[in-house]
């Protein structure tokens, strides 16, 4: 292995205050060299850290995100994950036996495939010698899959990791009631006919009422939409603002789709059905149409509607991450570095969806960047109201001082750099798979639009949040 120096001239978008930048990046497998401070002249710094391996995204893909109950409705979660993994194999041509480890995120688990990562990997033709595990952290599950991978690589355990996520909302486990389950389990153990009969005699009709997967926050029993509506109200976000933002998301997504910018999408031939090639939830409408909808959660006067919320989605994503030197050794041209990341958590009742507000300043501080350094923002859009509330919170000194223990606000992201290719509101939000989509969108946008740093942030059930800096790989 030899060390390399890459010199890159970069044109930054005109919105940036730097017109032309020159920067030097040490890329090295040798620890000594890596430890050496990079020679930086007139350049934006890099986020490489001494003695820590650089982790890169070689590439990432996703199958089209579909509204639940459409083309994927007869499949199982691992089928979707399998499709994403196959797509990744096709896209990257990575030798299967080189993959050290596979991690997938998912939220609503299919009990038959509780380690969906393993089932999908086997089905997708990965080596049966590659171990796999599944993580869950609500809407930031695949972020967790990625950062777990980063940890494994950075600590030197592995070189090549596949991270991804999957969610199938067309089918969710609906269980028997606890009473029924208890009776059935006891029946299993009953030895004599008498025991069985006495157990059966305890049966009551209400045992048959099914138990649906919780749509509500366990700790507060509040549904997320309800919380989002309250959050929007708390920050005085109007219905019109929310509808406008949702319309923006759909319009941008449509434009991106039409212009072929959503290059992470791989087609999926659904068994027994047509080949799905694009996301089907993008539906730019008019403000008038949207204004007609009734509130979905706080009735009759709430502001969160079906049109300004993300919809239930089926989908899967996967990406190939590697130690930088490994990627280069294999001859890859990585798309981006995965840099500093943070997880945050706060009050799951009143600040359920404020994760990005808490995570953004923290990750920027950690990376030594400011909002101005970021060229591409990719935030998870759970609800229009949630995004706009986060903007207001990020732009409030009062909030920063009273709730975040910070001296000043971090500032809200400039809209022209924000979710320019659509977001979860329009593209869809398969809970477990969104994280990888966000990172790939940031990486692809940096390549396409120019710029060095992307910021990915998301909120998640349980009052948690995540943010990560994605740094464009020098061209």
């Amino acid at each position: 292995m030899t060390s390399m120096l890459t010199y890159t001239f970069k044109n930054l978008p005109s919105t940036s205050k730097w017109a032309l930048q020159f920067f030097v990046r040490p890329l090295s497998c040798s620890s000594q060299l890596r430890a050496a401070p990079a020679a930086q002249t007139k350049s934006k710094k890099t986020l490489a850290k001494p003695n820590i391996r650089n982790v890169v995204v070689v590439d990432g893909v996703r199958i089209p995100f579909l509204q639940s109950g459409t083309s994927y409705k007869d499949l199982m979660p691992h089928d979707l994950a399998r499709a994403a993994l196959s797509g990744l194999l096709t896209r990257t041509n990575v030798p299967k036996d080189l993959v050290d480890y596979i991690i997938f995120g998912t939220v609503i688990q299919e009990v038959k495939t509780s380690n969906v990562a393993r089932e999908a990997a086997l089905g997708a033709g990965f080596s049966d010698k590659t171990p796999a595990h599944t993580v869950t952290m609500a809407c930031i599950s695949s972020n967790q899959a990625m950062t777990t991978g980063i940890g494994l690589i950075a600590s030197g355990q592995y070189d090549v990791v596949v991270a991804g996520g999957v969610e199938l909302m067309s089918d969710v486990p609906i269980r028997h009631s606890r009473k029924m389950r208890k009776m059935m389990l006891e029946l299993n153990k009953a030895k004599t006919l008498g025991q069985r009969l006495s157990l059966i005699s305890k049966f009551r009709l209400n045992f048959l009422s099914p138990e649906l997967p919780a749509v509500a926050e366990f700790s507060t029993s509040e549904t997320m939409g309800h919380s989002a509506d309250r959050l929007a109200a708390a920050f005085a976000v109007s219905r019109l603002d929310q509808d406008e933002y949702a319309l923006r998301s759909h319009s941008l997504a449509k434009k991106a789709q039409d212009e072929g910018l959503l290059s992470d999408v791989v087609p999926f031939k659904v068994p027994g059905r047509e080949t799905v090639t694009k996301d089907n939830g993008i539906r730019p409408s008019s403000l008038e149409q949207m204004a007609k909808l009734k509130p979905a959660f706080i009735k009759p006067y709430g502001t969160v509607t079906a049109a300004n919320s993300s919809f239930l989605t089926d989908g899967a994503s996967a990406m190939l991450i590697m130690a930088e030197e490994k990627a280069l050794a294999l001859g890859y041209k990585p798309k981006a570095y995965l840099r500093d990341f943070v997880y945050v958590s706060q009050d799951p009742k009143d600040q359920l969806l404020l994760g990005p507000t808490y995570a953004t300043p923290k990750v920027l501080e950690k990376a030594g960047l400011t909002m101005n350094d970021i060229d591409a923002f990719e935030f998870h859009e759970a609800f229009s109201g949630q995004i706009l509330a986060n903007f207001k919170a990020m732009d409030s000194d009062w909030f920063a001082q009273n709730y975040m223990g910070r001296k000043t606000k971090v500032g809200s992201p400039p809209l022209e750099k924000f979710n320019n290719w659509g977001g979860s509101l329009s593209l869809g939000h398969p809970f477990g798979a969104t994280g990888c989509r966000l990172v790939m969108a940031a990486a692809n946008r940096l390549r396409k639009e120019g710029g060095q740093y992307g910021l990915v942030a998301a909120c998640a059930a349980g009052g948690q949040g995540h943010a990560m800096i994605v740094e464009a790989y020098p061209k």
Partner: protein
């Protein structure tokens, strides 16, 4: 006008009969007070009726005398007197509004106009709560008249600017200052007229309710066309007037039955219970709910009120544009009920049943519930006019009754006993350690953890500890079942309780409360062990019902840190805490103990150390008299009925069984030794024999009565006949009438209480009254021993005592202070 401001949600707990059964085998633990606990003080009905859920309301579930609610309320109206001349800057409240008339500054009310909606904001100055007083009412009418006259305004929103309080009720002092029936009636008439105008308003009025909406506040709200409430635990609606011995006097008795149906209205007005917003919505008492908001760009409470206002304005607009109808969709059950209520025969049956139930529960001692029924009946059967007239008349009559004065006195007393007269302690107690996980220890732990105190519960055995932890968990879980807590909150609260067998972590404790067996040497041992591990500032409190604190403190290295905290069982239900100070106890220790007690939600009396302190000492002579009466051949059942019909919640013989015969024996021997002949009367021999036969009361299954699991009507224990016969003494016919028997019990109690004040055990009569009513079940309708002397007349009490003294001797000798009061009729405990 319905008084009773309330700022705190009272514990609407239905006490179950089984509440105390866990006491079995805990004989010595908790002692005297433990027994009193099982003798629920406030109305037996409360024990029996299950909490009401859902829209189905039966008229047969009410708890007319749930006075503790009244008493638990902090009143803001007290500060009314100072109700400030400070005018608020008009620009402040009206900054968002146009309209010149809106800019006129008023003291209590401000209003502005948003579009064509007037927003009327109520904000009494210098007070945490809004109370309906004359000033506020006249300003309100002034504002409303402007609104009605304005062409620009088409609807109105009524809202309070105070988070946590809409209107907490009418001003009690306004009633207190009335000297005659006519004056009170007039107040009611005026209130009725005001609210009638609101009801008939052609411009829709929306009441936007956040926080307490009680009494007159509720009557105001139900006179409006529409009600929107925040779904907050602080938002409670109710008509607590009955708890003050009066009735809703501003049209409430007439409007409420029409709004929520007769059965539900009776339930509300006869129990005075607080209704939370979500239930109020189900009942049809409010039309819309608004969720409280979290932090945004402003503090949550502030933004929530703003949001409530925004929503209310939308609805007010909708109503005036006729886009929203004020008619509510009634459920099938509601329709059936209202159909049934249209049949005169059904109505008559309901009145009858309700009256019977009230009679049974109040024993005719409380006039308010019956008058409420009467007034509601008049309104429904004879029309509005007659109803309103009857309401104001009866309101006037009730306000003049002794019962009402007694109840209002208790209410004021309780407000006083919710304050820390020693000021803030130097160090706020945050870490508590409780020794002994028995019924008392676990109870104290429960009321501590659920108020956010980190608590260690230590016991000597794993089994004992486990039992205690289970008790705490069950107490919290019961709240979950009643939806007062979420299961998550329960878990989180329970996690701040640490159960252990050793003294680990005691080095962080700010206060240790011991609730070990009532045995001096054990308490000494525990005190020494604890003092070896606790930090210097830590307070050592002893939960004992009879052991003198200075004797416990005798072995302490730091007696200034030792104090008595006498809880009453069940701790989570009984509101009283008797704090006992010795000569050596420091002021800061007192401040700390009171602060912890207040945090635990207790009503606190602080008394001086002495045998039996205050509560146990007052009860002992009365108990002694109970024994004598039984020895004189009065049947236990007869004695019970005599005491309950006097207003005690539990019969005297039953009380002995509940206290535990062994405990009663122990206490009467101890106090007998300390006080000598004055505590004599009945023979302790009776108790001794009962103990030797194993008749320990409820805990052993037999006492004066036989207790069987699942058997509701207890039978007299016939084995007692022999014991009673052997100890029989001839009754003295001149003092053995039913009334005399009642007064022999009560006057001994009262005399001892007054003596406690005379000796300085008690600091104030108020504390004496609160302690007697909340700790011992002294009839609330009498207001406590001191109020009783004031209302009944000291001379009459002394006369009775003298008469009994002539028959029995020293036990009935009136104390000097009582004689002083008798000699100068102007002397009152309450001026």
């Amino acid at each position: 006008m319905g008084p009773v401001p309330s700022r705190e949600e009272s514990h609407l707990v239905s006490r179950k009969r089984t509440a105390g059964r866990g006491a079995k085998g805990n004989s010595a633990r908790g002692g005297f007070s433990q027994a009193v606990r099982r003798a629920p003080i406030w109305g037996q009905a409360e024990q029996k009726s299950p909490p009401l859920r859902g829209p189905r309301l039966s008229p047969f579930h009410f708890r007319p005398l749930q006075l503790k609610m009244v008493a638990s309320r902090a009143i803001g109206s007290l500060s009314r007197a100072t109700a400030s001349r400070i005018r608020r800057c008009p620009g402040y409240t009206c900054r968002n509004f146009s309209g010149s008339s809106a800019l006129r500054a008023r003291t209590h009310i401000n209003y502005g106009v948003k579009g064509d909606v007037a927003v009327v904001r109520i904000n009494s100055p210098n007070s945490k709560v809004n109370t309906l007083n004359k000033e506020l009412q006249s300003e309100f009418m002034e504002v409303m008249n402007e609104i009605w006259a304005s062409d620009q305004i088409r609807s109105a929103v009524l809202i309070s600017s105070k988070p946590g309080c809409f209107i907490a009720g009418a001003d009690i002092n306004m009633l207190a200052s009335c000297k005659t029936f006519e004056e009170v009636t007039q107040i009611s008439r005026e209130g009725q007229k005001t609210f009638e105008k609101l009801e008939k308003s052609t411009k829709p009025i929306v009441a936007a309710i956040s926080g307490a909406c009680l009494g007159g506040g509720l009557e105001l709200a139900i006179a409006c066309q529409y009600r929107i409430a925040t779904k907050d635990r602080k938002t409670v609606l109710g008509t607590p007037e009955v708890l003050l011995g009066i009735l809703p006097g501003a049209g409430g008795t007439q409007r409420l039955p029409k709004m929520v149906g007769v059965p539900a209205a009776f339930d509300m007005m006869l129990t005075g219970r607080n209704i939370r917003a979500d239930r109020a919505k189900k009942m049809g008492l409010v039309d819309q709910l608004v969720d409280p908001l979290g932090p945004g760009l402003k503090p949550p409470e502030e933004r929530t009120i703003e949001y409530l206002e925004e929503v209310a304005v939308t609805f007010a607009k909708g109503l005036s544009d006729k886009k929203i109808s004020i008619k509510r969709d009634k459920g099938l059950v509601d329709k059936l009920i209202s159909y049934a209520m249209s049949i005169p025969f059904v109505r008559q049956q309901i009145y009858k049943k309700v009256e019977e139930k009230v009679q049974k529960q109040t024993k005719g001692l409380y006039p308010a519930p019956l008058k409420i029924i009467d007034v509601v009946k008049t309104g429904i059967e004879q029309g509005n006019e007659a109803g309103y007239l009857s309401e104001s008349q009866k309101f006037g009559e009730l306000a003049m009754t002794k019962e009402s004065k007694a109840l209002i006195g208790l209410y004021h007393g309780q407000v006083l006993c919710k304050k820390n007269k020693f000021g803030a302690p130097q160090k706020e107690a945050k870490h508590l350690a409780i020794l002994g996980a028995g019924l008392m220890g676990a109870g104290i732990a429960q009321v501590s953890v659920d108020k956010g105190l980190r608590t260690i519960l230590k016991d000597a055995t794993l089994a004992g500890l486990g039992r205690g932890q289970q008790q705490v968990f069950k107490g919290l879980n019961d709240k979950v079942k009643k939806k007062a807590l979420t299961s998550f909150e329960r878990d989180s609260i329970f996690s701040s309780l640490t159960g252990q067998l050793d003294y680990q972590g005691f080095e962080k404790a700010d206060m240790v409360i011991e609730a070990v067996f009532e045995d001096l040497s054990l308490k000494h041992r525990v005190l020494k062990e604890v003092e070896a591990v606790i930090p210097d500032h830590c307070v050592f409190a002893s939960n004992t019902s009879a052991l003198p604190i200075n004797e416990i403190a005798a072995v302490s290295k730091r007696p200034e840190k030792v104090i008595g905290m006498h809880y009453f069982s069940p701790v989570d239900k009984m509101q009283l805490l008797e704090i006992i100070t010795t000569d050596k106890t420091s002021k800061d220790t007192m401040a700390s103990a009171v602060a912890v007690g207040l945090k635990q939600g207790k009503v606190i009396i602080v008394v001086k150390d002495g045998p039996g302190f205050y509560t146990t000492r007052c009860l002992a002579p009365m108990m002694s008299e109970v024994l004598r009466i039984l020895q004189e051949g009065v049947e236990p059942k007869k004695l019970d009925s005599l005491t309950t019909s006097f207003g005690f919640p539990v019969g005297a013989a039953t009380l002995v069984d509940e206290v535990g015969v062994d405990v009663a024996k122990h206490v009467s021997e101890d106090l007998g030794k300390a006080f000598g002949e004055r505590f004599g009367g009945g023979s302790v021999e009776l108790l001794k024999q009962m103990v030797s036969r194993g008749f320990l009361g409820r805990k052993s299954g037999k006492g004066f009565y036989i207790y069987q699991e699942g058997v509701k009507n207890k039978n007299v224990n016939s084995d007692m006949d022999g014991i009673l016969a052997s100890l029989k003494v001839p009754p003295k016919s001149e003092v053995s009438s039913d009334e005399d028997i009642q007064y022999r019990l009560v006057t001994r109690f009262v005399n001892e209480a007054v003596l406690c004040l005379q000796e300085g055990i008690l600091a104030t009569p108020t504390e004496g009254d609160i302690g007697a009513v909340f700790g011992l079940g002294f009839p609330p309708c009498l207001g406590g021993p001191f109020r009783f002397v004031d209302l009944y007349g000291a001379q009459k009490v002394v006369d009775r005592l003298r008469r009994y003294e002539a028959a029995y001797g020293k036990q009935f000798t009136p104390c000097q202070l009582l004689i002083d009061h008798a000699n100068s009729p102007n002397k009152k405990f309450y001026q």
